[in-house]
């Protein structure tokens, strides 16, 4: 089992005719993902890697029965394409691009939640379910099928943790990048909930970083709702203090987003804090994870 993607996931690639879109379509197909169509307005009728391209999401969904979409659309056009995708009835959306204005993300988030759409990103590597498929840019060689869930704010660190586990013969059920932006389309706790409910997942690794309050809020969820073991690594212990820009954020959050604060919150919630990524191997051994 896996979360978010499975055998019935039929993916369209938005911005499929771009350099990155076409390259990643290749990798997704090679990994066995059911990429059934692509969208680039004005390029309808062509094809990329054997996948038909449509002018609109609506058309793509109607013609291909797609139920999921991954974005390689230039940042300036993401908001528009995102709303179009939701209106076309797609229920799972992965937003890979970075540098999307926060104002646009705020709008995207509110519309997705209103419409019951599960969306990840922006600035996410996407989702990969080993042996089943992937939406996004995760490099296949790092992953192996198994029963550990990974959820990460950082793209490359999600590969790193999967890689360490795979080298130690511990596979993953699903690896999820939640996106590295200050506002993301789904919060950490939302994804933890899916892992907690997934029968194919025995334990979860949270890869966070300094700043914000995702991990603190997730700690609340872990302590209240999670029965599965959780390990957490927070990057940024030796990062220089960010230049503080205002007080409002810290006042609202009631937390300053330090690594130490996150460690304390996670420990208090019963999660195991990993001081360095490589420690995940011992943790997996301790719980006899596969």
């Amino acid at each position: 089992m896996s979360i978010l993607i499975n055998d019935s996931t039929r993916v369209i690639v938005q911005g499929i005719t771009g350099r990155i879109g076409s390259a990643q379509t290749h990798w997704m197909l090679e990994y066995g993902t059911k990429v059934v169509g692509g969208v680039t307005p004005g390029k309808g009728g062509s094809s990329v890697e054997g996948v038909p391209v449509f002018d609109s999401v609506n058309e793509a969904v109607k013609e291909t029965g797609a139920n999921a979409s991954v974005f390689f659309v230039p940042a300036a056009f993401v908001l528009d394409a995102f709303l179009e995708t939701i209106d076309a009835g797609v229920k799972l959306i992965v937003i890979v691009p970075e540098h999307i204005p926060v104002k646009d993300v705020v709008k995207m988030r509110s519309y997705a939640i209103e419409k019951g759409v599960f969306a990840l990103g922006p600035t996410t590597p996407g989702i990969l379910a080993p042996g089943k498929g992937k939406m996004g840019i995760m490099p296949a060689s790092m992953f192996a099928p198994g029963r550990v869930g990974i959820i990460s704010r950082s793209g490359t660190l999600s590969y790193e943790f999967a890689g360490i586990l795979s080298e130690n013969h511990v596979g993953q059920s699903t690896v999820v990048g939640m996106g590295a932006d200050p506002v993301v389309l789904r919060n950490l706790a939302d994804i933890l909930e899916l892992f907690e409910e997934d029968e194919g997942t025995d334990a979860v690794i949270v890869v966070g970083e300094v700043g914000g309050e995702q991990e603190e809020k997730a700690a609340g969820f872990i302590s209240r709702r999670m029965k599965k073991p959780v390990a957490a690594y927070i990057a940024g212990k030796h990062s220089p203090q960010g230049k503080r820009m205002g007080h409002a954020g810290a006042i609202v959050r009631g937390t300053s987003g330090t690594v130490q604060g996150k460690h304390e919150a996670l420990r208090a919630a019963g999660a195991e804090v990993l001081e360095s990524p490589i420690h995940v191997a011992q943790w997996a051994k301790k719980y006899n994870l596969k």
Binding site: E160, I251, R253
Partner: protein, 379 residues
């Protein structure tokens, strides 16, 4: 991009927020002239983009021309928290009956703008938030609904204020919210917002940080963002399109992804000291990594370089070619350790090895850094 106080004050003023009479001075004579127009006493405020400026001596008063000369001279050209003071803001010294706080930011967790107010503004605002939460009130704004004055009035009523102050303050909140919207700001803040003896309000400080990702669609005239970065290496990083943070160690880092870069720094930091943080983002090309090599090599006293990249969205074999070209053209002698995994990893390893780069093929960054330490030892 954070604006300077004097730039933000101009924007505040254009949008109807009451601000002090003021002028911006690059020399002591300019400061003298401005103070003459405003009348003494005046405040002199170093224009540096760093918090805690006041406690570091960057905000001073001058009651006479002689005093102004002395203060201006000592501020201009000095450093505040490592940043050079190129300009000082000269402004009228307001009589303060009360100090308020007003801040608007985006609450990352709820994904909504939030307005925060307090009846106790000033440098200790975050302490107030902890110790006297009843003096703080905050309201989230539904972005589809928008901001309306009645929301501010009800927010301020929570603080038990008099109607006169509620009316004046809710005007300022509306104006600041419009600014935050129009300039797509991540933070718009007035601290303190001063209540004058006559009951009027005055924004004696101004913080405005614009969303970098929105800069191209905001209409305003400000110097280019690159010019605003004081550190020359960081400025160079911005110019070539990567995030570079200058640190005081001697191990150079190139990483793809901020999380991986931070983890690399954390691991290096256990036994050695990083010289920089450099994150390429998703746009690696041979040229880009060539330029990244050039950038990190500018740092004096570099002992080694650690490259930590993943081939997900990035063509790391292309990146490796750029690194090698740099090494060969510049005859780089210091040890370079690379961990490069993902799509086309074998091809990438070969390229790196062909240029004498030590390649580590295991996933854990700790092992690559062990290798690096083996090569260079402690500082």
């Amino acid at each position: 991009m954070r604006l300077h106080e004097y730039e933000a004050l101009d924007i505040f003023e254009q949008n109807g927020i009451p601000v002090p009479r003021r002028g911006i001075a690059g020399t002591m004579h300019e400061a003298l002239h401005i103070a003459g127009e405003i009348g003494y006493p005046v405040m002199l405020k170093a224009q540096v983009l760093v918090g805690g400026r006041g406690l570091a001596g960057g905000i001073r008063t001058a009651s006479t021309p002689d005093e102004l000369k002395e203060v201006a001279d000592s501020l201009l050209g000095s450093d505040i928290k490592g940043l050079p003071v190129r300009k000082i803001l000269v402004c009228e010294k307001a009589e303060i009956a009360q100090e308020l706080y007003l801040g608007i930011t985006i609450d990352g967790y709820s994904g909504k703008p939030v307005i925060v107010v307090s009846t106790e503004g000033g440098v200790l605002i975050e302490e107030t938030a902890r110790t006297s939460p009843e003096k703080i009130a905050a309201i989230h704004i539904d972005p589809n609904f928008g901001y309306y004055p009645y929301l501010a009035r009800s927010l301020l009523r929570m603080l038990g204020l008099k109607q006169q102050l509620i009316t004046a303050w809710s005007d300022v909140i509306g104006q600041l919210y419009n600014i935050a919207l129009r300039y797509e700001s991540l933070i718009a803040e007035i601290n303190p917002l001063v209540v004058l003896p006559n009951g009027g309000l005055l924004a004696v400080d101004a913080v405005l940080e614009v969303d970098d990702s929105a800069l191209s669609r905001i209409r305003f005239t400000l110097p280019d963002r690159v010019d605003r970065i004081e550190n020359p290496l960081e400025r160079r990083g911005r110019a070539i399109g990567v995030t570079y943070v200058d640190l005081d160690g001697d191990i150079g880092i190139i990483s793809s992804g901020a999380g991986l870069g931070m983890a690399s720094m954390d691991i290096i930091g256990e036994k050695m000291k990083p010289a920089n943080f450099l994150e390429t983002g998703g746009g690696i090309t041979a040229d880009l990594l060539y330029r990244c090599m050039d950038l990190i090599m500018m740092k004096q006293g570099l002992r080694a370089i650690f490259i930590n990249v993943y081939g997900g969205i990035n063509p790391i074999h292309e990146g490796a070619k750029g690194v090698i070209r740099y090494i060969q053209e510049h005859n780089v002698k210091i040890p370079i350790v690379a961990k490069a995994l993902g799509n086309r990893q074998e091809e990438t390893w070969e390229i790196f090895r062909s240029g004498g780069v030590h390649v580590v093929t295991e996933a854990a960054t700790e092992k690559a850094i062990d290798k690096l330490y083996e090569l260079v030892g402690p500082a």
